[in-house]
């Protein structure tokens, strides 16, 4: 691990100041010279691996008072970026009104990690691709232009949606699928033009030919809040996660769904897919098939087929098409079966 300077301030202004880049940085937020650290469950890992090498570590935990609250006004859920995953997972309002959020949190990692990890940091977690994690492999995400060892390598766990010839690494997070499905927005501050709010769906960048640029955050830009609008679909929502072992593993495939049903007719559907894409993946393709129709096995299968129609598998992960489709079918039928109170 490289040496770093450790800073911890108690005010937001001083925190942003500590992370402000001294000069323009083309590396993108996740490779910036100064990195924010909250729970540390992702960043310390990548620093230990020598993948992340911040010169300055800016500890933002002093901002808990301001950024650590869960609030709801009925129209939207407002989550401070420093809320710990476990806090949100346990929160009665979230469990009742946004089960998809509670489940994407509960099914992630382990309770120890969830006690530490912040919601903001969780959305920014980086890929688990072993060729990325081990610095001796060629990796366009770590070193632009160096190549991608996964394309022709052991790629069972890699993405089949949103890939490019430069990178097929899967986005590993669960919580982000709930956020993108529910059309969350992200508040940030410290960016180039000051505080801003962006749709969560715009936060992550497809790899294209710049896999080293993972988000649209500027160096020194800090996520402060996540806002999730309530809708008639938020209560009828769930998350299905398929893994080799029963727990403590990233998704092979997963599906986050939220449905507004009248009887069996889908008024509105929100669908996101995990484990299969390079970024959090909203499936408007599946939603288009579902909307306005009677939900049953056949419709669910058609929606799943549409969701994966654009999939581009590699040698070892073609199974993710069939299993990913089945995961979505399971989630849709499970959401339909839920007992939900208006």
């Amino acid at each position: 691990m490289e040496q770093f300077e450790y800073r911890r301030e108690s005010s937001l202004e001083r925190t942003l100041e500590a992370a402000r880049p001294a000069r323009p940085d083309v590396r993108g937020a996740q490779n910036a010279i100064a990195q924010f650290i909250a729970g540390g469950t992702n960043l310390t890992d990548y620093m230990t691996l020598g993948v992340a090498k911040p010169n300055i570590l800016v500890d933002i935990n002093g901002l808990r008072e301001r950024l650590g609250k869960i609030e709801s006004n009925g129209r939207r859920l407002r989550l401070g970026a420093l809320v710990r995953m476990a806090e949100a997972e346990d929160h009665p309002l979230i469990r009742r009104d946004f089960p998809i959020i509670a489940q994407t949190l509960t099914l992630a990692a382990s309770r120890q990690i969830r006690n530490m990890a912040s919601l903001g940091g969780n959305t920014l977690q980086r890929t688990r691709c072993e060729y990325f994690r081990e610095v001796s492999w060629p990796c366009n995400k770590r070193i632009p232009g160096s190549g991608c060892a996964a394309l022709e390598g052991i790629n069972r766990e890699h993405a089949i949606l949103g890939t490019s010839e430069h990178c097929i690494a899967a986005y590993p997070g669960d919580f982000a699928q709930a956020l993108i499905a529910l059309e969350a927005t992200v508040e940030t501050t410290g960016g180039r033009s000051g505080p801003r709010t962006i749709p969560f769906a715009e936060l992550h960048r497809l790899p294209d030919d710049t896999p080293h640029l993972e988000t649209i955050l500027a160096p020194g830009e800090l996520i402060t809040f996540l806002n999730v609008p309530t809708g008639p679909w938020t209560r009828r929502s769930c998350y299905v996660k398929v893994r080799d072992r029963e727990s403590y593993q990233f998704a092979l495939t997963s599906a986050a769904v939220a449905l507004h049903l009248e009887g069996d007719i889908v008024q509105e559907a929100r669908v996101a897919l995990g484990g299969v894409a390079t970024i959090p993946w909203r499936s408007s393709e599946a939603e288009a098939v579902l909307g306005g129709h009677k939900l049953n096995e056949t419709l669910a299968a058609r929606a799943a087929e549409a969701a994966f129609a654009g999939a581009r598998p590699r040698r070892h992960n073609a199974f993710k098409i069939a299993i990913g489709q089945q995961t979505l079918v399971r989630a849709l039928l499970q959401a339909q079966q839920m007992k939900v109170f208006k």
């Binding site: 688990r128 072993e130 060892a149 390598g153 080799d244 403590y248 593993q249």
Partner: protein, 739 residues
């Protein structure tokens, strides 16, 4: 009654809590890397990024000038260190720094020593290397492998067991099965990281290292350093799991000792989890081609087993599991052939039930396939071909209750309630299947020694340089002494884990309980003999009359040293033991054939949509001779069953075929079961008496439970889905149509 402490049945010992239980639950048990020494420096290994080629140049300059760096050991800089000797005491003959040739991914290239761990780790990443690369051979199917016969060339296989005319018998068989099976590479991954802490005091070296072979390790290190064995002490008080990985030494240890000698301070090197995949041995991948022939009534007539095992270019290591499988049933004719396939890898070594786990997978899967071909109950097929005689040698089994294990297991598991048709049982979204398989492990025993001291208070101290890796050897050795001397177990202390103690064999081949308890028995017999002289023939040495007996003897303590040599082993075995060489008599080498047996039953559930494979029920019924302690034995067997499931469903070390490099070098992607993977596990230990095996009457159980389970799971998966998976691990994609 607590499940963890089953009530002992005939020939089974009390379920005493482990003698080290309190130490382990309070964090007071010390493992090697817990031991901190004055002015200790920290060392980190630098390992290669290629699997085959040469180190053209290695630049240590940047690393040397990093803050806190004290020294770097690398090529041309190893002070006359000798190469390791490939044996049970060293997994490879490769001295990584003796030449600049790279033979495997992650080969040691340097040891960086600094004043803190962080400084060493950071400096290690500043070592730069220029390679000249050669395309490596990664796997069985890669270009560039070479093959050779294993029999007679490897320690574990003298000859390919054969009997009768296989070709003729197979041709005449009414029902035939012919299939290929494969098991993947596995990496032991005990939770304790490998480490070496070396400290010199003048010319005496003390090494703290988790090892399964204190005396073997000591002898090998002394050899590499060109030292007198008497000047080397190895301490390994507790070992955080071994499973074979800590059995043979590795080249790292002598390098750390060398660094410590040069610097004049103790040096501790902890191997990272990732480096543990490449600097330590592993279970080699295997392939099998099985042929079984039977008559229509299910009597076997012919069995052939061709196997291929991967090894390094440098050393020939194979496990040769046909030595066990060939003796399992009344086959008729048997033909076996094991071959080595050499590739650009580090040398493999033994991992829990090394021969049986992969080979029984093939055999027990093939038998299951045969049972379906015959339209016969798989349990019935085993029973019909059960035997009390080894088909290869004609020798009788000293005890074999496989039939009773199957019958009991089938009853307990509700086996006969199942619908025998594949893909016929479903509960909601889950397909349900049941499978069974035979578990077996040879009863190995080795020369061992122990010292026992009895005090007038009834306190007893047992000493033997065995290794507590979690099996409970400390506890059962204490129980043996308590029972022999008639004192309460609570009055016994047991010292192990130090070469200052009397020599004991490697904790391998599940021999320790049998061997060490037999040595303890010998020592106790001597103590009893001395007491008998003054007590008369009716000796009941309870705590109450000991003071009088001691007074009569005129002694302060009674301490006796006991040596055990298995029948048929020459007495030189003891000197060899002290010189670091275990002489182990295997279960197939004795006048009678000696194995422990079991029958395992598995229920699997498979999600009909997303194909997750889960195991809600596991049962093993075992007949394994005298059980010293039903608590520790049950835990070993239970852990073994779960290991078996892991072998079937989870574990595989992934080697990138282009570069022969390990890809899943962590616990994120090297999957082992988590708590939620395990539901119901039942262990039944049938009473069994076998006085031929060794004086203690003990058959090893540490490696029994995980044999056969992988086949039972594959068999259950077939029963649930109609899909026969012949290549492990059984991953959910293998259950998709058209896979």
């Amino acid at each position: 009654m607590i499940p963890a402490a089953p009530r002992p049945r005939e020939n089974q010992g009390a379920p005493h809590a482990r003698i080290d239980a309190r130490l382990k639950v309070t964090g007071e048990a010390r493992y090697a890397a817990d031991i901190a020494l004055d002015r200790m420096a920290y060392a980190v290994l630098v390992t290669s990024d290629i699997a085959r080629g040469e180190v053209k140049s290695i630049s240590l300059h940047a690393a040397r000038s990093a803050p806190g760096v004290l020294d770097i050991v690398s090529y041309d800089d190893i002070d006359g260190l000798r190469k390791p000797t490939f044996s049970t005491s060293s997994y490879t003959s490769l001295g990584p720094l003796h030449q600049r040739t790279i033979y495997h991914d992650g080969q040691i290239m340097a040891l960086v020593v600094a004043d803190t761990f962080e400084a060493a780790e950071s400096a290690a990443s500043r070592v730069t290397v220029e390679y000249s690369r050669q395309p490596p051979t990664a796997h069985f199917d890669s270009p560039g492998t070479s093959q050779m016969d294993a029999a007679g060339k490897v320690a574990l296989l003298d000859e390919d067991p054969c009997t009768g005319d296989f070709a003729k018998a197979f041709a005449a068989a009414e029902v035939k099965i012919e299939a290929d099976y494969a098991t993947p590479q596995q990496t032991h991954n005990p939770i304790e990281l490998f480490s070496t802490t070396a400290a010199w005091s003048e010319d005496v070296l003390t090494i703290y290292e988790p090892t399964q072979s204190l005396y073997g390790f000591r002898a090998e290190i002394a050899h590499q350093l060109g030292m007198d064995v008497a000047k080397v002490r190895v301490i390994s008080p507790y070992v955080g799991g071994g499973f074979g990985s800590k059995g043979p030494s590795t080249p790292r240890s002598a390098l750390v000792a060398l660094a410590a000698r040069r610097l004049g301070v103790p040096v501790r090197c902890v191997v990272s989890r990732s480096q543990g995949f490449t600097t330590m041995p592993y279970r080699a991948p295997t392939r099998h081609h099985i042929k079984l022939g039977a008559n229509a009534a299910g009597k076997l007539q012919a069995y052939s087993h061709d196997a291929w095992e991967l090894t390094s270019r440098v050393d020939n290591y194979a496990v040769g599991g046909t030595d066990t499988t060939a003796r399992m049933y009344a086959y008729g004719a048997v033909a076996t052939h094991v071959r080595l396939v050499k590739a650009d890898r580090q040398t493999p070594a033994y991992m829990r039930s090394p021969p049986e786990l992969p080979y029984m997978f093939a055999l027990e899967s093939a038998l299951d396939e045969l049972s379906y071909e015959l339209g016969m109950d798989p349990v019935e097929l085993r029973l019909r071909n059960d035997t009390q005689k080894d088909p290869i040698s004609g020798k009788r089994f000293s005890s074999r209750h496989l039939k009773e294990c199957y019958e009991k297991g089938a009853r307990e598991f509700g086996w006969n309630k199942r619908n025998p048709l594949p893909r016929a049982t479903r509960q909601g979204d889950w397909l349900v299947g049941l499978g069974c398989a035979t578990a077996v492990y040879p009863t190995n025993v080795a020369a061992a020694t122990a010292r026992v001291r009895l005090e007038a208070t009834g306190d007893v101290r047992v000493q033997s340089a065995s290794q507590e890796i979690g099996t409970g050897i400390r506890t059962v050795a204490g129980q043996m002494a308590a029972e022999q001397l008639g004192v309460p177990f609570e009055k016994v202390t047991v010292e192990m884990g130090d070469t200052d103690l009397p020599a004991a064999p490697v904790s391998g081949g599940s021999n320790s309980t049998a061997s060490v308890c037999s040595a303890v028995l010998k020592a106790c017999e001597k103590i009893r003999a001395r007491l008998r002289k003054v007590a008369g023939s009716n000796l009941a040495p309870s705590g109450s009359n000991l003071p009088q007996l001691f007074k009569k003897l005129g002694v302060g303590v009674i301490e006796e040293y006991g040596e055990f040599v298995p029948e048929g082993v020459p007495p030189e075995a003891l000197q060899k033991l002290y010189a670091g060489q275990t002489t182990m008599l295997s279960g197939s080498e004795r006048k009678q054939v000696m194995f422990a047996f079991g029958a395992e039953f598995v229920e699997v559930r498979i999600n009909v949509r997303t194909r997750e494979i889960r195991v809600p029920r596991l049962l093993g019924v075992f007949a394994a001779g005298r059980i010293m302690n039903t608590r520790t034995a049950r835990s070993q067997l239970m852990g073994g069953l779960i290991w078996g499931v892991s072998s079937a469903l989870h574990e595989a070390t992934e080697i990138d075929p282009r570069t022969a490099r390990t890809v899943n070098r962590d616990l994120q992607d090297y999957l082992v079961p988590v708590n939620a993977d395990v539901d119901r596990v039942d262990v039944i230990m049938l009473p069994e008496v076998d006085e031929a095996v060794n004086p203690a009457g003990v058959k090893g159980v540490g490696e029994l439970g995980n044999v056969g389970t992988n086949a039972a799971v594959a068999n259950a998966v077939f029963h649930a889905t109609g899909v026969r998976v012949r290549s492990l691990p059984i991953r959910l994609e293998k259950l998709l149509e058209g896979y």
